[in-house]
């Protein structure tokens, strides 16, 4: 059952990713394909016992980040990709070859080297478990991310505002 679900989500994720990269006509549809990938990844996270991360994945990636992409596409009113698909066949061919090569290298690299999966402790991946780790062992990184977010907010406003007074 879990294997079937995993295969289904994996298939959806790959299809969504490919649809996003290959869709050269409609940016909104590309973004929606990305949502399919992200939600499928959320499902896979649940199957891998990372419950909190799964929910945050769906809330932040699918629920906020891609919506912001859609917002910008609608704000700029890009009805279609005005410049159409790239004419440079060479770039595309090279890109595809690079992608396949990357996957091949990964397969070679990982073959027989992945360690066996360990048995899980109780409550693994729940909000208590992750929260305890986040607010004790990783407190400093957690606090530093707030600075990063602040910098991002200021940067986005500076970049996007028409004129700074």
């Amino acid at each position: 059952m879990i294997q079937v679900l995993f295969s289904l989500f994996a298939l959806l994720a790959v299809i969504g990713a490919l649809a996003m990269v290959l869709n050269v006509r409609n940016t909104i549809a590309a973004a929606l394909s990305l949502v399919v990938t992200m939600i499928s990844l959320g499902g896979i996270f649940v199957l891998l016992e990372a419950h909190l991360v799964a929910v945050i994945q769906i809330m932040v990636y699918a629920g906020a980040i891609v919506v912001v992409f859609l917002f910008v596409v609608m704000l700029l009113n890009l009805r279609r990709d005005v410049f159409g698909p790239s004419g440079q066949r060479l770039t595309k061919a090279l890109g595809a070859v690079a992608g396949v090569w990357l996957v091949y290298r990964l397969l070679v690299l990982l073959e027989g080297r992945l360690p066996a999966t360990q048995p899980l402790p109780d409550g693994f991946g729940g909000y208590r478990d992750v929260g305890m780790a986040l607010f004790t062992d990783f407190l400093l990184p957690f606090e530093v991310t707030s600075l990063l977010l602040l910098a991002a907010i200021v940067g986005a406003i500076v970049l996007a505002k028409r004129r700074l007074d």
């Binding site: 790959v14 940016t27 990372a50 700029l76 992750v130 977010l149 940067g155 996007a160």
Partner: protein, 100 residues
Amino acid sequence: MDLAHQAVLLSGVLFAIGTVGALVRRNIIVILMSIELMLNAVNLAFVAFSRIWAHVDGQIFVLMVIVVAAAEVAVGLGIVIALFRNRESINVEDASLLKW
């Protein structure tokens, strides 16, 4: 085959698709989305290894990556808007000059 091992492979495939997208596409918004896809693939690898070692640290890293992704989108799309305002285009080739 183990579920977590399959997840590592899936993460590699998704990362490759993301890389190709970022290299080949000229629509800057799609390029940004491809980068998001790559980050997602990395998240999947983190979660898979967290499952393999039965250790929660990998999931913390996912949360950090998500924060970085959010920051990156905010700044990246800010740049897209500024670019569109100046060039009336979201084609990266229209922004190939360092100065205009």
